[in-house]
Symmetry: C2
Subunit: 452 residues, 2 copies
């Protein structure tokens, strides 16, 4: 039942491709799900993939397209003519997938492909969907759905549903609309099974229904579907007219993408790269963040340089430079991460900025005190200078408290100005905390330690 891609399987496949052995190829992919074939294609190079792709039947071929990775899909589509794309895919795909695929082409070719779509309703649906901004409900929804009129009887409804259902893979919900297409409610399939055919829809439909506007943000949509455990969510326009539906599988992708984006940012990686990407791609995604760290390191060097004279007198001050820098970074990232997740989940509660900072101040104080006391104990036994011990502990406490507050404030401020708050958990904030931590350390050292 379950397909698992093995190296052996890939070798067999590659051999069949090399020999152009269509029969073996068909044998190897028979009964596989489109998602499996998509996975296989992404392991092959474009040439190999094209050979395999050509043996698939039209329906499977367009399904497989939706499961391929974006980059490979684009490469593949570019190798086809507008006519081939229109005939082979645009008619067979769901409107949302078709619009997704079209969006990669320049305006001119887009129009050319659309003009060649045979099913004019599908062409209109795709044009509609192309208008919506990426990341909104409109761009996420499919136009395919089953809607029945509130004035129909159950028997008319069943007849109409049979017609409409043909073009839809899986029926989740039947929507009830009025003559103007305004969404009024839904019709549980269960009810349809147990109601006499003469009954009127208006008597049995459920008017309680949750919907979103076409311009709703995809993160908000994900939060709503998650919160209310929805499998499908209807989308309406400004007048409340039913425009399409968003299914949970599209939203799962959104949730995953958002989580992975945050994780990548926290780790100093831009975009969604994978270990199978090219060295160039991997480097490009990582180098900019390393350069931020490099710049921070140079700033740190300037700070220490300011105190070169002190260091010459008391070189043991240098011992604790990495400790101070690291602790500031660690404490700051902790605070930022909690705020970033709270913003994403809409779970920050109702306390104001002051209350949040006050609370984090307490957390920072406790953490800072524990760490300071421990390091004081260490220095007490292993270090001769009481002044150095006091300096390190005071600086550590200040740095942890400061970084905790700073880490809370920055993502909230970024969010206020519509900048992705997840930036605050990455190398940028760690670097700032490093440099400020060093400054605090040497400044306190200068007061407590070097001056007396």
């Amino acid at each position: 039942m379950q397909f698992e891609l093995t190296r052996k399987y890939l070798d067999d496949l590659r051999e069949a491709i090399l020999l152009n052995n269509e029969e073996t190829l068909l044998d190897l992919v028979t009964d596989l799900h489109a998602a499996d074939i998509g996975e296989i294609l992404s392991e092959l190079d474009t040439k190999e993939a094209t050979v395999l792709y050509k043996v698939l039947d039209a329906n499977m071929a367009s399904d497989v397209l939706t499961y391929m990775e974006e980059e490979e899909r684009e490469n593949f589509l570019r190798s086809l003519s507008s006519k081939e794309i229109a005939e082979q895919f645009m008619d067979n795909l769901d409107s949302d997938d078709a619009a997704d695929m079209l969006s990669m082409f320049p305006q001119e070719q887009k129009e050319e492909i659309i003009s060649m779509i045979e099913d004019k309703q599908q062409a209109r649906d795709i044009v509609d969907l192309l208008h919506y901004e990426e990341g909104t409900a409109g761009a996420l929804m499919a136009k395919e759905l089953i809607a029945v009129n509130i004035n129909w009887s159950v028997s008319t409804t069943v007849k109409e549903m049979r017609k409409q259902a043909e073009s839809i893979d899986q029926v989740f919900t039947v929507y009830v609309v009025d003559d103007e297409d305004i969404l009024l409610g839904r019709l549980p399939l269960k009810k349809l099974l147990i109601t006499p055919l003469k009954a009127q829809i208006s008597d049995i439909y459920d008017p309680k229904i949750r919907s979103v506007k076409v311009d709703a943000d995809q993160e908000d949509i994900a939060n709503i579907m998650e919160k209310y455990d929805l499998v499908v969510l209807p989308v309406v326009d400004e007048l409340g007219r039913l425009q399409g539906r968003i299914t949970i599988d599209d939203v799962v992708d959104v949730i995953k993408e958002e989580a992975e984006k945050d994780y990548a940012l926290a780790s100093g990686i831009s975009g969604s790269v994978e270990s199978t990407d090219s060295i160039y791609t991997l480097t490009r995604a990582r180098l900019p963040w390393l350069l931020i760290g490099l710049f921070g390191g140079v700033m740190g060097a300037r700070v220490i340089e300011l105190y070169e004279g002190d260091l010459q007198l008391y070189p043991e001050m240098a011992f604790f430079i990495p400790l101070i820098a690291a602790m500031g970074g660690n404490a700051g990232v902790q605070s930022s991460a909690i705020i970033v997740q709270g913003l994403a989940n809409n779970s920050l509660g109702f306390s104001g900025l002051g209350a949040k900072l006050g609370k984090e101040f307490m957390v920072g104080l406790v953490n800072g005190l524990v760490c300071s006391l421990l390091i004081f104990g260490y220095n007490f036994f292993f270090n001769d200078s009481m002044n150095l011990s006091i300096t390190v502990s005071c600086a550590l406490l200040s740095v942890v408290v400061f970084a905790t507050l700073f880490g809370t404030f920055v993502p909230l401020a970024l969010d206020k100005y519509d900048i992705d708050p997840a930036l605050a958990t990455g190398p940028f904030i760690t670097t700032v905390n490093d440099v400020l931590g060093l400054f605090i350390y040497f400044w306190i050292g200068h007061i407590f330690y070097i001056q007396p």
Copy 2:
């Protein structure tokens, strides 16, 4: 349509609770979804929550329970007697939610509550579910589903479905089983609508169905449902007998939890804490990781101490301590994060450890060279000592390359020994990289710079 929790609303609610004004309370929560009431309850303290909870009707009350946060739900349940729990909740809840809730009680009370459940079928289902290990398909599934026998006709099926459907909120799929309950396929609802009543199920059912065993891991289940865009997945035992079904909303929670856990670990936070948690909880989740950083800092101090003599002669070596330490940490976390996400998404491809390390070596080399050249340029203009410039650049290159390889290796090794690889992106790895980076820096400095 959409409920938004505002401070004003909460104030009104609190006032009604204080005055014990049942009518106003009911007004305020009428027409709200159980998820909204769950959200409201988590803003109130236990006393206030209990007052509000008492005005809800039994069905709503048990629904609300499933949407409450775990900690609050447990507090609330603890305030009830076994009899109240059994009567008010165990009968009304889906079997999986009921079992979830029971799992918090000690064995004795568990048995007591189960013995008081009126619906004996429900009691059996709950006992079954309690046997499965957390994190497996068995623990995630619900027993409620619609199954029809392959030997039935469509008319028998419709009759039986009406009976079975009563206890189920939403019908996703109708399963087809044989006399031994062995899962054979599924019956698309669409087909049921358009097939004559005399037809046999065996003629119209779809034998293609994907299922998982009861002991399948929840992360694998999430991957399967995501890959194949499934809304519901049947669970079978070792003999292939249908045991239950897992719905996508439970899996969305798993996906979110896994992502949040990884993110928390990368940020140095244990468990899923929120900014609304108590100062104690927040501190407990963060302090251990800071202590790891502290320990690393002390180790770093020991390393630098080894070279105290060199530092006294050349205090300018101290300038670049934070730069070296930070760059090692940053480069290592980048590599680890890519591996951790690859492991989670099962997208690491088929290359062996050697090939992976070889590729990362190249990435590290490019990144390291660019950074080293830039810092050499900086030192060339702003620093008098050519020896120091060479030392810093050589050390930086070595540290970046080393950290990149180490960051790739560690999560793979952890995963091999069934330890969560996400640990590798947290403060632990940064700390190790810090210390090793310092060692490399001073060692190179000793050779290139101090010895001549």
